[in-house]
Amino acid sequence: MSIEAPTTSDQLTRQLPDGPRRPRVGSRRVAGVHPAIWVPALLVAAAMLLPALYLLVATADLPLARIVEIATDEQTLRLAGRTLLLGTSVTLACLVLGVPLAWLTVRSDLPARRFFAIATGLPLVIPTFVGAFALVAAFAPGGLVQEWLGVLPPSPYGFWGAFVALTLFSFPYVLITVQAGLRGIDPSLEEASRLLGNGPVRTFFKVTLPQLRASAAAGGLLVMLYVFSDFGAVSILRYSTFTRGLFLQYRSAFDRSPAALLGLLLVGMTIVVIVFEARVARDRGGQFGARGPTRAAPAVPLRAWRWPAAALCVLVLLVGLVTPVTVIVYWLVRGIAAGEQLNVALGPAWRSILSAGLGALAAVAAALPVAIWSSRSSSRIARLVERASFTGYALPGIVVALALVFFGIRLATPLYQTLAMLVFAYVVLFLPQAVGAIRTSLLQVNPNVEAASRVLGSDRLATLRRVTLPLARRGALAGGALVFLTALKELPATLLLAPTGFDTLPTRVWSATEEAFYTRASIPALLLILLGSVPLAVAMIRERRER
């Protein structure tokens, strides 16, 4: 009674007439991929490896003995252990929270489902340094919760604080990718399962969940590597990770070589993680239906669980969105009461939109060849190229920024500290978000669709243009929105690589909170959250209309 989906696909493949390059599910060959795809993909991959190359150059200053000493130092090992512990637990928590929430907001009759579908993704727009700051202001001893409610809440510091903050502010990576995954599933398999007598729960675990494997793994990977790179939350909530140790080397000792070595070790940890993810995901996510979703899936009735499910969504929003926004509004009101001058920050808002928007466009353009190649070819190089794109994403922003300072001023002097440079930095930092989204959406479409196009007489380039690219559109939209969001709140690379005087919303928020001008931080912070919610809302509304 279990659904033998791969067999179904194999049968489909077999039914197709034998073409000269008949792609087989599970071992699609590189021969079908046009140079217009793999040449740009290789160029993109080369650019993605710049930060790692810089780390090698900077580490080369160290004598071997010192390298061994730092790499085997108890301190280093402890940091590695803590980083892995935090990364793993946050990733698991994000999966446990994100996958059900995605299902609830896409497939169930949850009250106000469309609102929650957008709103539960919104904690992602809050920069962790702002979110963690607000959590401290609210939950620390003597903070707002104690002041207003008179009870001492659990401490926001240490492992648990960092765990909760990072989970809350990064679970939308899982939520958004899985939501997109759910929308790409053909509901007929689930209906078949129900007709065969399986209950909704069994159908979810046996039929729906396996199809979400790739998108959940992709989202989980984004979370895990984000935790590797995060500095804001862990420093404010006092939990030492690799990235915090690395910052300490730069900030305390002004010594780039030990910092670079720590960066290289972090790259090593990243490789381990992405190899593991590749094993988990194993391309099983899609290829169940031949054409992707043909129609919207009917909402699954939650019955008695309707309101508890809504309560869960409300709780997530309360802690992840309402708490930080309340704290920020409190700063604003307190400052107004004290007669602070307010600045509306329209200039920074526009510059944020411009740079993040261009960053998103450029990232999608760079991601397309990488994603198409790696989803339509079983070539090892294609996989390597796709995986290489994670290097910049997993490294702390300051490392990527300094790497691009190093190469930019030497190799691209006229572009140094221009908008083009900043956009390039955003691509290096956030490319995997776009690649992941596009790749997932392509994997959900059986390559037989392209094979059919070839059989019907289109050459490879025409197939690419008329079949593959339109199929990648859903992923490109989701990926572009994600990159826009994260670029919107990017700080370290913006400070170092933007044109001089190009201040954005996060640089405003940062410079104000650094000096305890919370009122001055409040308006740009609120604008940032507002702007961040726009692309999410647009993406969701368009999704809906297209269905």
Binding site: P141, S252, T500
Partner: protein, 373 residues
């Protein structure tokens, strides 16, 4: 299919605009440079500064060909208008990149000789010392160095302090009696302070203090004090601002910080229950600086020196000492900050600020005792 084509066109249009924007951004820089070069060639003059001077800014002694660039680790809210005033007074344009003190220093190290920066403005003697060590700063003219209190500038003459900030013990006025407060920072390792003290061991100015402690009192005293503080359960904050915030809400009763953070909290909330306790004659009353260095790679050092002179002028020094947002110590003898005790009263330890460069040793000690992990 029709909608797809429309969308395709839209995408193409957006991409075109993006490319255009990028191209324009790229063209800005080369455009200014050839112009400047052309001016020089036409004039056929050996001294371009004179040449420009005749044309536009007659009253200023020193002028610049183009804007000078400052990498500032100091906040725009504190120093932005000073640069504006300088522009108005001299006609020399200033472009400022604001960022983190240490990160901007690291950026200059990566940029090397090609750095667009002419001046580095940092919040920490350690960062200035690091740039000096790497040979990235140039010697300042005698007249600048002579203006400044010798304790507040590099002994090698490559950077100068622009203001001083003193280490203090900030305390919650509702929770601590003034009589209870210690005379020495070293007393905070005593049992009576268990669980009451906040500190920021990852912070640059705290580490400068630890370096001074190592230099003056010796490695053993420093280690013993750090271990005592940890045994006492000193509460870690990520920076000075967070310490003062934590004292304010009573999370800790006292905190080791710089004197000037308090004033910003008071500006937003006049009832903020925190005050500074100065530590006259104690190692804990160390004075650190914010300061400037001119880059060896600067192509207009004279204009850059002019900006340093401007920051050391009596008006600006006076302003730093009195402005409610900063209230820092002037570094030029004879200028006072009325709200602060005088430097004689504080009697700070005699530490060579250039000695604060041994930061790797301090970081290592902090890691060994477990103050930072």
């Amino acid at each position: 299919m029709r909608t797809l084509t429309t969308r395709g066109r839209l995408l193409a249009a957006v991409a075109a605009v993006a490319l255009l924007a990028v191209a324009c951004g790229a063209e800005e820089d080369p455009a200014t440079e050839p112009d400047a070069a052309v001016d020089d060639t036409i004039a056929g003059d050996t001294d371009p500064a004179d040449d420009v001077g005749e044309e536009e800014a007659e009253e200023a002694e020193v002028t610049a060909e183009g804007p000078i660039t400052v990498y500032s680790g100091r906040n725009e809210d504190f120093v932005g208008f000073i640069f504006d005033d300088f522009e108005a007074a001299t006609g020399i344009e200033v472009e400022v990149r604001y960022g983190d003190t240490a990160e901007l220093a690291a950026t200059i190290v990566e940029e090397g000789d090609a750095s667009p920066a002419d001046i580095y403005f940092g919040q920490d003697a350690g960062a200035l010392g690091a740039l000096q060590d790497q040979g990235l700063l140039t010697e300042l003219p005698e007249d600048i160095l002579d203006t400044v209190e010798p304790a507040f500038r590099s002994r090698e003459g490559q950077w100068t302090g622009t203001t001083g900030r003193v280490r203090v013990l900030a305390y919650n006025t509702d929770l601590v009696e003034t009589a209870e407060l210690p005379d020495s920072i070293l007393d905070l390792a005593e049992p009576e302070w268990e669980g009451r003290v906040g500190w920021a061991p990852t912070n640059g100015s705290f580490q400068a203090f630890v370096t001074a402690l190592r230099v003056i009192e010796g490695e053993d005293v420093a280690r013993e004090w750090l271990e005592g503080m940890i045994a006492n359960g000193a509460v870690e904050f990520q920076n000075n601002t967070a310490i003062v915030e934590g004292i304010g809400r009573g999370e800790v009763e006292v905190g080791i910080t710089n004197h000037y953070y308090l004033f910003r909290f008071l500006a937003e909330d006049p009832d903020f229950p925190v005050a500074n306790h100065f530590l006259p004659g104690d190692i804990g009353g160390l004075v650190n600086i914010a300061g400037m260095g001119v880059l060896a790679s600067s192509d207009q050092p004279d204009a850059a020196f002019e900006l340093v002179r401007y920051l050391l002028s009596e008006d600006v020094q006076d302003f730093f000492g009195q402005n409610a947002d900063t209230v820092e110590f002037p570094v030029v003898p004879g200028v006072d900050a009325p709200e602060l005790p005088t430097l004689e009263e504080i009697d700070p330890p005699d530490v060579d600020l250039s000695n604060l460069e041994d930061l790797q040793g301090t970081l290592q000690l902090l890691q060994e005792v477990g103050a930072v992990s």
